[in-house]
Symmetry: C2
Subunit: 349 residues, 2 copies
Amino acid sequence: AVTFRASEHQHIRYNPLQDEWVLVSAHRMKRPWHGQVEPQLLKTVPRHDPRNPLCPGATRANGEVNPHYEGTFLFDNDFPALQPDAPDPGPSDHPLFRAEAARGVCKVMCFHPWSDVTLPLMSVPEIRAVVDAWASVTEELGAQYPWVQIFENKGAMMGCSNPHPHCQVWASSFLPDIVQREERSQQSYHSQHGEPLLLEYGRQELLRKERLVLSSEHWLVLVPFWAVWPFQTLLLPRRHVRRLPELTPAERDDLASIMKKLLTKYDNLFETSFPYSMGWHGAPTGLKTGATCDHWQLHAHYYPPLLRSATVRKFMVGYEMLAQAQRDLTPEQVRAQSILGLHTPSPHF
Amino acid sequence: AVTFRASEHQHIRYNPLQDEWVLVSAHRMKRPWHGQVEPQLLKTVPRHDPRNPLCPGATRANGEVNPHYEGTFLFDNDFPALQPDAPDPGPSDHPLFRAEAARGVCKVMCFHPWSDVTLPLMSVPEIRAVVDAWASVTEELGAQYPWVQIFENKGAMMGCSNPHPHCQVWASSFLPDIVQREERSQQSYHSQHGEPLLLEYGRQELLRKERLVLSSEHWLVLVPFWAVWPFQTLLLPRRHVRRLPELTPAERDDLASIMKKLLTKYDNLFETSFPYSMGWHGAPTGLKTGATCDHWQLHAHYYPPLLRSATVRKFMVGYEMLAQAQRDLTPEQVRAQSILGLHTPSPHF
Ligand SMILES: O=P(O)(O)O[C@H]1O[C@H](CO)[C@@H](O)[C@H](O)[C@H]1O
Ligand SMILES: O=P(O)(O)O[C@H]1O[C@H](CO)[C@@H](O)[C@H](O)[C@H]1O
């Protein structure tokens, strides 16, 4: 019988955090690609454009004028998907037609006054200011809402419609779907094993090393065993931290520094300003802030779409939308062969 | 207090088939779009190109020569994500690192000998031949495998790398993730209510009419109450049918005809050859063929990416990848305002 080798033989892997399976077909990278290539937008972005609603001093869609901000800047999204006062749809008349109330707020956070920088091009103290702003907005909106979703869509490929460095914050009256899965999985792992799932997971990855991308005094970056996107990573604190506001000053500085390293590696991988969607997950807030949330471990997910080069992405389409996520190289290959695991970062892009 | 109106007030809706929630923010269509627009590839596709590996008489990557087929044509994918003989990864050494064996086959099915047609441009008898080929391949591969996933990625935007009209068939030794969710939901609905979830759902939509797109003697097409993609539809038989091979000749003819109508409406909506991923779900096969699968109702999902025009798509990115699916117009608006519900189909594209 042939001996199983993950790098050669297809198999399925389980994601214990989100209760999902992924099909890993390592041999499939050999297939040629004649499909859609992404436009390489090498447009130079002007540092300041008074018509760009994210710039200091610019006028936004609602007529408000931005201050001449010098660090981060947080404001209400002019086209929010969530508003604070939507009425309740009321009871459902049939179990197959269930709707519930959704309330919330959507904010935009600019990372820097300049439009022509990205996080990896910013200095560590500037990134540290972003970390502080994330912690504050979690505290501020988390006082009222059970969930505060911080996320960044970077690059046109990820639906980002403005090159100015920024992220979004959507706070909601409900626990979103994917969060509910993480809540259930972490809760059940904690009650079975007596410790947080992601704390044990990070410890294991530090021992095993084969998927570890970066480690620092307080943080780890790894390609999760169950990664779906080719260069997906998970960013984790080494100690048990439930939410962003709990991070100490030293942990925040170290986070800024490891983020800069990770994002520089990403940029260097295909010599492009690497597109991704990323976001933070931590214990629920609002009325749940007091509840036992010891099963939660703070973490950030990075989901980059590129597969082979700056212009060839992984399409999550037919099989993935209808059956199961599928990836074309193993997480260990990403770590070992690719630039993610080996190169010394140098901020080229 | 303000009265709730789905078309104006955000809310969340539950998908009882896949056990998921979607955030519906109807008011968000008003937001301007300055982001990525998709290339409109108005390339003319030659009817026959001997270098195209899907054409009759062409030589494929593995050196095999296609027959001069005149109807549908089924062959093994030269770059399969699933192969029949992968070894077993063996037992896991830790509950957070679980892998299992995956075996299967990947096939490609050409719909027609010509590269310059699409399903809506084919005649009803030609589409009927595709339906028959789907039923046969389900029977053939379903003899061995518990799941046979038929899916079509149409258009470059959906990762389709060859314009020749075709779909794929991936049969696997495992029940894929999304299928497991549908299995659980239909099973539990059936045991609670004594009838298949989707049979009752179709009946309700026929009564309610507000999301119904097409109906015929044997079939229904509707925008599901819980649709995620802007113009997503669900295609259902009106009687209880568990798998494609069970369809009668009359039901197959009628299916060919309603598919032609639906896809023509899609093409007319934004005056473009409408991109989508679609696929069939029916009761499991293989060793499960004999088991009680009365909770299963055959259905096809259509997931088209476009939102506003032939070049502006919905991006399922940051919030959607990290928190919950979100849509910008209600399923009822799609049915009522858009061309999907009203226009008489005429095959323009
Ligand atoms: O097999 P194809 O058509 O080359 O590949 C396409 O469909 C597959 C199944 O959905 C995806 O895994 C690929 O990412 C996509 O490009
Ligand atoms: O709010 P934006 O950046 O305009 O919009 C982008 O991110 C949102 C949240 O992930 C998505 O719903 C949109 O489809 C996407 O274009």
